[in-house]
Symmetry: C2
């Protein structure tokens, strides 16, 4: 037996030559001098071991250098740093810059894709892009028009280019990609255009398509094994998605994939969430009996094998969505105490305002608690495993836009459609064991209406108005510390607007984030006390990152207001209630900042 096992191990090693790309990513992310993934590391904790900048000296932080990207509108994501080179991306037209850190950030190369601007009106929530990925000398760019491009990191020359979708049908790309082994994982958005969205794996070296997993549809399309893929510990069974849709509606079912994704090399599982079902009008999605049905697997988290795409488990947070509470937010992986027991968990701060803690090996639901005190659409999630409702939220009928019906304006729903959190990724510090979460504190009035599907046309089916949550003293956001083991807010720091920037935690006992007015801030992880702030050129919706070069630590962030919260400013909407916009509450941003993409890099003097 023992000999046999040993032989097996040797065999695996032999087959694994040449080295797989994830060796490179793992190696690069293990060195805190780099920032080699948008997410910082496969765990998506956005934590850095760098500690040169720390709680005692952060007050003397100053701007080391700056770089304008030449593009207006919303700048999400952030730079990568690998060795002596920084790689930057921009919103549409998705320019890529390689900057030489050895020579004052001189531009080593610049790649400017040619994209048909007709993709712009198909992008629901600004022309954002969540950034580049890197492995083995290759930069992966995911263009708005769904082209996936591999660039030589040294020269910027194209290695390969594939088309992942069709903007004419409403398919777009805003996500970064995740490189796992030799797989480049790329998501497709378009739930506001009736797109049946999907995750695709391309080969890093060749660009060849490996597998594609749709968010809904037949088992063979969604890559589930009816017997082996589980939902809260039980096999999903045959046609687990199909039977939760009325007729063929799954074909235009939504479930966008554009969040931040994680990977557990030991379990060999990747994790990601899916967005809302199409349309936003729930009445149109009711079952043949006129009652709610789940629309699986919109609003769900998938754990998949990156080699085959087959799901190990899946969990739907918001069955039969009535509010556009996307489930695509980041899914960080941490090992923490939950109810006195060390667990390997996945955490998600969901659009619906609930913070979930889930066993990432099995998909067992451990914690589901409100991380935004405003949340009123649900009284909570059934946690009793023996209940047939186990894992499902209880909906407050007053705030059920389905219960109230189409063409009825349901008022005072919290959170608003953009969720208690949207794309802005959280950070986790192993030193405190806490998550640091940029949140929205916004409510809405929501009026669903009947809408017809036409390929490439908006398929939204609701008008809404968003405004600060009551008793928020006008503040539309909080930056919070969250105990994911207990499901409790540890501290909460109010902000004037939603905190739309990704956070960073460091070994220097610091947490960083940015604000929509444009402030870059450092706070104490223990208390939330503000230790430093600086007004960058424009509102911040990018993610703070850190790197070290020639022994000196730098912290950097994109400015460039936009995104869903800043779409009014970004697209120059004069009617704050126009279209998806519904951004009335954010019109006050006009008093603080203007458009403009640039990078601000900080260091100690």
């Amino acid at each position: 037996m023992r000999k046999c096992a040993l032989t097996g191990a040797l065999l695996v090693t032999a087959l694994a030559t040449p080295a797989l790309a994830n060796d490179d990513v793992m190696k690069l992310t293990a060195d805190p001098a780099n920032w080699a993934m948008q997410e910082g590391n496969y765990n998506l904790t956005r934590y850095s071991k760098l500690d040169q900048i720390n709680k005692s000296n952060v007050g003397s932080l100053q701007v080391a250098w700056t770089f304008s990207t030449g593009v207006l509108r919303g700048h999400e994501g952030g730079p990568l740093v690998i060795g002596d080179v920084m790689y930057l991306h921009t919103p549409f037209p998705n320019i890529v810059y390689a900057l030489d850190l050895n020579h004052d950030a001189k531009i080593l190369w610049k790649y400017t894709p040619k994209q048909d601007p007709s993709v712009i009106p198909v992008m629901c929530c600004d022309t954002v892009n969540r950034g580049l990925a890197y492995a083995e000398g290759t930069i992966i760019l995911t263009q708005a028009d769904t082209n996936v491009v591999a660039l030589d990191a040294k020269t910027g020359k194209e290695k390969w280019k594939v088309k992942n979708g069709d903007p004419k049908k409403g398919q777009t790309q805003t996500s970064t990609s995740l490189i796992v082994k030799d797989h480049v994982l790329v998501g497709i958005s378009g739930a506001e255009f009736g797109v049946r969205c999907f995750m695709t794996s391309y080969n890093l070296k060749t660009g060849k398509k490996e597998w594609r997993a749709y968010s809904m549809g037949p088992d063979s399309d969604i890559l589930v094994d009816p017997k082996k893929t589980t939902n809260l510990g039980k096999p999903v069974g045959k046609d687990s998605s199909l039977k939760t849709w009325n007729g063929d509606q799954w074909k235009i079912g939504g479930g966008s994939i554009w969040g931040w994704w994680s990977y557990d090399p030991d379990l060999n599982l990747i994790y990601y969430g899916t967005g809302n079902p199409s349309t936003w009008n729930p009445a149109q999605r009711a079952g043949p009996d006129g009652k709610p049905i789940d629309q699986k697997y919109s609003m769900s988290i998938f754990a998949r094998n990156p080699d085959t795409g087959v799901a190990r488990w899946v969990y739907q947070m918001t069955p039969f969505d009535e509010w556009d509470y996307d489930g695509i937010n980041e899914v960080p992986l941490v090992d923490i105490d939950v109810k006195g027991k060390k667990r390997k968990v996945l955490v998600q701060f969901n659009g619906n305002g609930l913070g979930y803690t889930i066993d990432r090996a099995t998909g067992e639901l451990l914690v589901a608690e409100k991380f935004d005190p405003a949340v009123n659409w649900t009284t909570g999630v059934e946690m009793d495993k023996s209940s047939p409702r186990y894992g499902r939220p209880y909906v407050v009928s007053k705030y059920s836009t389905f219960h109230n019906g189409a063409d009825v304006n349901t008022k005072g729903i919290c959170p608003a459609a953009l969720g208690s959190k949207d794309q802005q990724p959280s950070a986790f510090s192993p030193k405190t064991g806490l998550f640091y979460v940029p949140t929205n504190h916004v409510c809405m009035d929501y009026e669903p209406f009947k809408v017809s599907y036409t390929a490439g046309q908006p398929y939204v089916g609701a008008t809404l108005a968003m405004y600060p949550a009551p008793n928020s003293h006008g503040g539309m956001g909080n930056f919070i510390a969250w105990d994911a083991g207990k499901g409790k807010i540890v501290w909460s720091k109010p902000e004037l607007f939603s905190v739309w920037s990704g956070a960073l935690a460091t070994a220097g006992d610091l947490v960083f984030y940015g604000t929509l007015e444009g402030y870059f801030k450092a706070v104490d992880p223990a208390t939330g006390k503000e230790l430093y702030k600086f007004k960058t050129p424009s509102g911040i919706i990018g993610n703070v990152m850190t790197y070290s070069h020639k022994g000196k630590q730098y912290v950097a962030v994109f400015s460039g207001v936009g995104g869903w919260a800043g779409i009014g400013l970004a697209a120059g909407l004069t009617d704050p209630s126009a279209g998806l916009g519904a951004v009335g509450g954010y019109s006050g941003l006009n008093d603080y900042t203007a458009l403009g993409g640039s990078l601000t890099v900080f260091s100690l003097p």
Copy 2:
């Protein structure tokens, strides 16, 4: 006699009530806490008495705050600060911001003009604007489309608005305005479109047109008094302009007015320069005998009475231009020793590469020397007053594009068409008695060709290629110190690209400027030694300014690459030799910076 004089003085005082606007400007500019004019003061010396930031502490300068303007392309000019408010402008569409310095630069108001974008292709050298003017609670905005708008400085509401020209005919506005007494002086550009350009005075309170002086044409149009207006000490005589043009060519004669202007309250004279005659093809402008004629008053400096517009004196630097050597550069007023005698002079660093020192009361030419060692088109200016050629440059026939003829490519002319200096204004320190001059060090090949005039269409008539001057080691600019009394370079600091930013000199024994790559720099006025530099988000073509708020000194500058030197980047020209562009030499800028308008404000920690 004595009593009579006293009565007269009292009478003047009485008549002067209510106070004239220039009292306000004079008062505001006398307080160095403000930066109340684009030029710093009426003398246009760009000198500040602030000395908190000085030679010994400038090394610890850091970025205090930043502000993105939301507009790409070239940002010339700079902010105004009056009391607690900073006023910013942008290139087209010429947005105006009022920022509250008491509240972290919160936007007090924003004014966004509605302008027909069809003006953009009529702007020869990027969509620049050289900034706002202020007097008595009014902000004056000079829009690209030639609207002149008076805004309430407190609210941003329009007080009055007048149309100063017609973009359909090629008339545009890029200049700031100069407010003298109750006169708002505004220039019109368009020499590349065959516009006969003019200076107009509007009443500050009402917007009513007061006078208009054309650059060429009948005496009544150009507002000269044949007997009293002098040229190098002699009356200009009747039809002094008309008789220097072939037939009616003066009607499409050019002579743009967009530089930086000065005012001497004691002499009650305003000073400004004029641009090139139209077209750039000199053969087309020859006299009836086929010989050069002067095309007065293109390429000239005017001294005018601001109340009547009538010229006191005029001097033409480059008669019968063959190279587009504009004479519109700034005209600072200083009192310095010239050949052992204290003189009240005007200084100009002309596009043609000669630094002129002129008695500003009489127009007497005192000094005319090369401030760029590359200059080769002339051997110098005749300084012998008894010569019939007094004040005229001697042209080297090898570099005479007229002598060589149309459709002949004359090579190696120095400087290039954009001059040894263009719009970038110099600074003067009374502490050193020296000028600090941002210069170009660029040569060209120039091929004139026949062109027909059509209103609103380009009327250029030459193609050219520009490149670094020989023996410049690739550097296309120098930042120099100049002794205007002697006509000598005191020191010269080479820069990789032309220095397209305006300089600032301060009582802190510092001189500041910016570079096209985006560096903001402080140097020692005595030696040119670099004491501080910082990489701003984009290339700098704005002018450095300083102000003081709550006892703290700040230094600020616009980033935002563009202007003539940066037009290739700004307009995304892929063919570096396209159109007026001819910016091949500057294509290297792509390796250093990208577009993006923002303000960077510096202070000590």
